[in-house]
């Protein structure tokens, strides 16, 4: 455990001493801020219109603002995550520092877990930018806080899943750009997998759609924690980390 924390905190430090952390947080803040502004502006306009028409107004901020925002955030996240995960192992392989890790008294599991946890922390910081926006709603309204919490939980789980896949891809190459591009393609693919079920009812289409990372996110954004989604994310995380560990191990054998 101590080794994992050592590697994890080193990883977090190296995100924050480089511009990566600030760039990602800034970009996400900008994009999410724009979404947030349009969503709330639209909500206010729709609310005023409803009032003018004189009907009884019951518009939920959760339903009209927060849930769609989470949907947007999860997609934006898919674009940013490869930028977080690509350097995890590729950089160390290129610079030779992986030799230090692999000749230190730590297991391959500890290396992978530590690095992945550092990346998840980085992603949490990125999500915090969204949190700052959503927090504003609590100053000016009374949204239900529970769906907000599940939404962030969903974003985190989804991010952690993609990061584990990204870290596996990063172990396979010395080139950060290759790692990033491959992870990005996989992210896109995992997103659009769900589209298959919209025009095909066959069993295999359902299976493929089930693997889509976004279909499992939707319930979270609506405030539902479904065990099947949690299990999906956790097992995908495990798979990603397991493959990363195996891949590191194989570096020794393939050399």
């Amino acid at each position: 455990m101590r080794n994992i924390l050592t590697i994890c905190s080193k990883e977090i430090k190296s995100y924050f001493v480089s511009p990566i952390a600030y760039l990602l947080m800034g970009l996400f803040g900008l994009i999410f801020g724009y979404f947030f502004y349009s969503a709330t502006a639209y909500f206010v306009m729709a609310g005023m219109r409803a009032q003018m028409q004189g009907g009884p107004v019951t518009m939920s901020v959760n339903e009209y603002v927060i849930a769609p925002l989470f949907g947007n955030a999860s997609v934006v996240g898919l674009f940013l995550i490869p930028l977080i995960s690509m350097r995890l192992f590729a950089e160390e392989k290129r610079s030779g520092t992986i030799e230090l890790l692999m000749t230190s008294p730590v297991t391959d599991w500890e290396i992978v877990l530590g690095k992945w946890m550092g990346a998840v922390f980085m992603y949490t910081c990125v999500l915090a930018m969204a949190g700052a926006n959503v927090a504003l709603l609590f100053f000016f309204g009374t949204p239900d806080w529970r769906p907000v919490l599940t939404g962030f939980l969903g974003l985190l789980l989804q991010g952690a899943t993609v990061l584990s896949i990204g870290s596996f891809i990063s172990t396979t190459t010395k080139n950060q750009i290759i790692a990033g591009a491959a992870t990005f393609s996989i992210c896109l693919l995992l997103w659009v997998l769900s589209w298959v079920s919209s025009y095909n009812e066959a069993g295999w289409a359902q299976v493929i759609a089930y693997c889509s990372i976004l279909t499992h996110f939707e319930p979270f954004s609506k405030g539902i924690i479904d065990t099947k989604d949690v299990v999906f994310y956790l097992s995908a995380i495990f798979l990603g980390l397991f493959l990363s560990t195996r891949s590191i191990e194989s570096m020794r054998w393939r050399a």
Binding site: S14, S95, G96, T97, E99, T103, S104, P105, A255
Partner: protein, 328 residues
């Protein structure tokens, strides 16, 4: 401390190390000598558990590299060919990270970093970013990270490569100061380094050990004769040559090109006259009234042994890579 038996490491296409065996006792400093690509790095990587052996056994401090890798790693400090430093970190921060990785007790880390920085002469750059340091400093940071947890065994892969002569000297002194407490294996293709720092030498060529002996014994193995370069000012070449040929113990005199006003020769001694020739030659020239401007042994003898051994092994293969080591 280190025991290697029948170690073989095969990569996909070639065999890097073939069935080598050696042993290193506690407190010894062993020089691993060989051309580039001879198998030095591979052997070291097996010892540090970075690569598993294809066949054979290796153990460090009594722990097997395959069975108890974590114990082996705990007992080893390793400096790879390129120092494994993170350019974005400060020196002290980096050393702290490594100390934690090596499972040092937290309470000791601060003090140990100060000690190691002092030893590796890193005091003045302790809070500098590693990426901004010169190659020499980075190499020293690499050595500092290898010794940070005070391991009984140190494995240093070409610790002086790429350094300027002054830095090389520093690093050699540092290594010498570590002897005694640590068992050290260092690899190099620089012969003088082995002569200065090591008690024993293992010469490796094409993945095989071709000599494993103490430095003193290897010297004895050398040729029984020696060649001395002589340069004389203000004299007639023919006269000097004649005089030199008369000196007792001289087998052959060969004329060499020299600058204007000088005459130069290479004098080969008879067998068994090694180390006896130079004083006699000097006396002969001075007594003839000439000015002796240079007198030195040509070709470091260890170097010759090394070349002889590697040439004999590789047969007709060119030994061109030795050019650089010969100039050291």
């Amino acid at each position: 401390m280190i025991k290697v038996e029948g170690l073989t490491k095969r990569y996909a296409r070639n065999v890097a190390v073939k069935n080598i065996s050696f042993e290193v006792g506690k407190g010894e400093i062993v020089g691993f000598l060989g051309k580039n690509g001879a198998g030095k790095t591979t052997t070291m990587r097996v010892l540090t558990c970075f690569l598993p052996p294809t066949a054979g056994k290796a153990s460090v401090a009594g722990f097997d590299v395959l069975e108890q890798p974590l114990d082996v790693k705990r007992n080893i400090g390793y400096l790879p060919e390129t120092p494994p430093v993170y350019p974005e970190m400060e020196v002290a921060e980096y050393l702290e990270f490594v100390a934690k990785l090596k499972n040092m007790p937290r309470a000791d880390i601060g003090k140990r970093i100060d000690e190691v920085c002092e030893r590796a002469a890193l005091g003045d750059v302790k809070h500098k970013i590693i990426g901004k340091l010169s190659k020499g400093y980075r190499q020293r940071v690499g050595i500092a990270q290898a010794i940070i947890h005070n391991p009984p065994v140190l494995i240093l892969d070409e610790p002086t490569s790429g350094l300027d002569p002054e830095q090389q000297l520093h690093v050699r002194e540092l290594i010498a100061s570590l002897s005694g407490d640590h068992t050290i294996i260092l690899s190099t293709h620089i012969l003088s380094e082995v002569e200065q720092s090591c008690s024993n030498v293992i010469i490796i060529n094409n993945g095989e050990i071709i000599a494993s002996d103490s430095v003193a014994n290897l010297h004895k193995r050398g040729k029984a004769s020696e060649t001395v370069a002589v340069e004389v000012a203000g004299a007639d070449a023919v006269a000097v040559r004649q005089r030199l040929e008369e000196v007792r113990g001289v087998a052959r005199v060969i004329s060499k090109d020299a600058r204007e006003g000088l005459v130069a020769f290479e004098v080969e001694s008879l067998e068994g006259e090694k180390d006896l020739l130079r004083p006699v030659l000097a006396r002969a020239i001075v007594q003839s009234g000439w000015n002796l401007t240079q007198l030195k042994t040509v070709g470091d003898s260890l170097e010759e042994i090394f070349l002889d051994l590697t040439r004999a092994e590789s047969g007709s293969k060119s030994a061109g890579t030795e050019g650089e080591s010969a100039t050291q």
